[in-house]
């Protein structure tokens, strides 16, 4: 039922993206991975607390989508949101400081890992409630439509949000109103330990697009070129007033549900098979084989990213905690 785009724009075809965009994509994916690796290390060394939900393994989805967004476009994100925020342009220093609960973080330490927002970058907030971003994204898209703007909203959510009422209410309304929103289901097959087949009826989540009368597209979420091609079409469609698209990106989290979870419910072979589909390695293979980027390009970005992440950690650890007076500040606007 759903269009399957997993073969398009990928390894078999010639990549037509500009060199600048390819460099941006590689850098964004590396920023996500190294940021989270550093955060995990800080957590395991007890320098950070709370809940961390790692996006590692899913980098191609956020990156492929956000590569086609403007700064003034909106995204709504999830509890597994570091990747979305980084791909939309979030600053690693302010993100890391937020994970550390410091006053210099994106939210002044009030939100933590699950609630990073940067309204100037169109990041309307990561969200600790599964599925809750879907009605919010519909509202942001409604706002753009009412103001006559051509901004689009991308709503990221996981397969765990598929069964929620918020999914139906949000997608249905967006379709009824033909809103400029792109719903991106990152299907990593697990809502904690519950596999998607035990949570979502029907052959696919993208297939539900038929029920709402909107395009539903399945895509290999670990193939950044395929994701990018699907995103471009969906974003063009939304921006030109033709309404929403439901994208289902098949992907996998290499880590557990949270930093505390070693994922004993997953077969070792399953993880190993997915590790072979590492989105960053696949990207490198494609662009190297087509002589689009060189080892020097990768090395330079790798070094830049490592330095940027180190600086983010240093910035966070050197930053003060917010004062206790901050507890009751910022609850209400003046």
């Amino acid at each position: 039922m759903a269009e399957n785009a997993s073969q398009s724009g990928s390894q078999n075809g010639a990549v037509t993206l500009s060199r600048d965009k390819l460099l941006w994509i590689y850098q964004a994916m590396m920023r996500i991975r190294r940021f989270e690796e550093a955060a995990e290390e800080a957590f395991r060394n007890a320098r950070m607390r709370g809940a961390l939900h790692f996006y590692i393994g899913e980098e191609a989805t956020a990156t492929g989508i956000c590569a086609e967004l403007r700064t003034d476009d909106y995204i709504t994100s999830t509890h597994r949101g570091h990747g979305h925020c980084i791909a939309k342009g979030g600053r690693l220093s302010k993100m890391m400081a937020e994970l550390y609960g410091r006053a210099t973080g994106y939210c002044g330490g009030k939100g933590g890992s699950m609630h990073i927002a940067d309204l100037d970058l169109g990041i309307l907030g990561a969200n600790g409630i599964v599925g809750a971003g879907i009605p919010i994204a519909a509202g942001a898209a409604l706002g753009a439509k009412l103001r006559g703007e051509d901004r689009v909203t991308v709503c990221f959510f996981g397969d765990g949000a598929g069964p929620t009422g918020a999914f139906h209410e949000g997608v249905n309304f967006a379709a009824v109103q033909s809103l400029p929103v792109i719903f991106v289901c990152e299907n990593n097959n697990y809502g904690m330990a519950t596999t998607s087949d035990k949570a979502n009826a029907g052959p696919s989540i993208a297939g539900r697009g038929v029920a709402y009368g909107i395009p539903g597209v399945e895509v290999d979420g670990n193939d950044v070129f395929a994701v990018n091609a699907v995103a471009r079409e969906a974003i063009d469609r939304a921006r030109s007033g033709k309404g929403p698209t439901l994208i289902e990106a098949e992907t996998y989290r290499f880590k557990g549900h949270t930093v505390h979870d070693m994922a004993p419910y997953r077969a070792k072979q399953e993880l190993e098979a997915w590790l072979k589909r590492d989105p960053i390695e696949r990207f490198k293979r494609v662009v190297e084989s087509q002589n689009l980027l060189t080892a020097e390009d990768f090395d330079r970005i790798d070094e830049d990213v490592v330095r940027e992440v180190e600086m983010a950690i240093e910035f966070a650890e050197a930053s003060p905690f917010p004062p206790l007076e901050a507890i009751e500040q910022g609850v209400y606007a003046d």
């Binding site: 409630i129 209410e169 309304f173």
Partner: protein, 342 residues
């Protein structure tokens, strides 16, 4: 604003009085604010062609069109969530729930999203939302269309909660709520929609967080809000026949709560009765009573008394429904007990 009662009382006789219904007053507030600010829009179930379940938005679709009077499907989470998304990106939604009971479906969006986004995002996001809903019992709607759920909302930092009792206050408070840069839960008692009162034409506001002395008295103080204000005023009238002068304080806004007039009143009367239609146990009255005893303990000649609904869902059968929440007679009895009990 302590003089609104006096003004209303005087203007009952005045030639320039303009008596309109409570729901008309609300409509005027929305209409005037929509004219004033193009960012204001209405979203909800049956707010357009139907004109709102209680006709608050009647005629606005014709005036403002489908882009600003938006009928939604029966999707309360969507209504509340769309208001979050629209407000955080710069609009000022007025989201209507037909019945506050239906807000249960939208509670995640109201409590976890709307109320918390500003705070969680470090005070940067601004969400100027008004969530309007009809509340309250007394018209035979049974248990799922009658609750008084204000305590759900007053308990959530990040929300403001308003519960007007008169058409004048309804218009002025709703205009303040629409202009407020916060999430305001605006609770409209459904038995008040058809009540009439004097409402000036044109622009005026009643600020949020300012209580009002609806009747002056010296022997006891009733602190209440919403429809129970009308019951308290009737009770005060009856008691006046017995020579008991009751002061009636209308909180109007529950958060932020202005307890100052209640405290000042108790310092004069030395007795306080807190009345609300909501279930008494765990009700908002506990907060009112606590603040009065904290701030006026030395003036009290009797414990602060509370009167709320019995501990049951609202029953349908008429005598049971009216027996379940405070009536004028029960308020009269409670005031008598408060005075005799000294």
């Amino acid at each position: 604003m302590t003089t609104t009662t006096a003004v209303a009382a005087v203007s009952q006789e005045a030639p320039q009085e303009r008596l309109i219904f409570f729901n008309q007053a609300l409509r005027e507030a929305i209409d005037e604010e929509m004219q004033r600010d193009p960012a204001v829009f209405v979203i909800g179930e049956e707010v357009g062609i139907w004109g709102g379940a209680y006709k608050v938005t009647e005629g606005l679709l014709e005036k403002y069109g489908e882009s600003r009077i938006i009928d939604t499907p029966i999707s309360e989470a969507l209504i509340a969530g769309a208001a979050v998304g629209a407000s955080i990106t710069g609009l000022r939604p007025i989201a209507e729930f037909m019945y506050s009971d239906f807000m249960g479906i939208a509670m995640d969006q109201i409590v976890n999203q709307a109320a918390k986004n500003r705070y969680m995002f470090g005070g940067k996001a601004t969400l100027p939302i008004v969530y309007r809903a009809s509340t309250g019992a007394g018209i035979g709607n049974a248990a799922q269309h009658t609750q008084s759920l204000e305590a759900w909302f007053t308990h959530i930092p990040g929300l403001k909660v308003v519960a007007p009792s008169t058409p004048y206050d309804a218009k002025g408070l709703l205009k303040s709520a629409i202009r407020d840069n916060n999430v305001v839960v605006f609770l409209e008692h459904k038995a008040l929609y058809a009540s009439r009162g004097n409402v000036p034409e044109g622009d005026y506001v009643v600020p949020l967080g300012v209580s009002d002395v609806k009747r002056e008295g010296t022997h006891a103080t009733i602190v209440t809000y919403a429809r129970q204000v009308t019951f308290a005023l009737e009770a005060a009238e009856q008691l006046a026949q017995e020579g008991v002068e009751v002061e009636v304080i209308d909180l109007r806004t529950l958060y932020p709560m202005d307890i100052s007039k209640a405290v000042a009143s108790v310092q004069k009367t030395n007795r306080a009765l807190v009345v609300h239609e909501a279930v008494q146990f765990g009700g908002f009255g506990g907060e009112i009573a606590s603040q009065i005893q904290q701030q006026a303990f030395d003036y009290l000649d009797a414990p602060v008394e509370r009167l709320g609904a019995l501990h049951s869902p609202v029953p349908f059968s008429e005598p049971l429904e009216f027996g379940s929440f405070p009536s004028v007679d029960r308020i009269v009895d409670a005031v008598r007990d408060l005075i005799v009990g000294v």
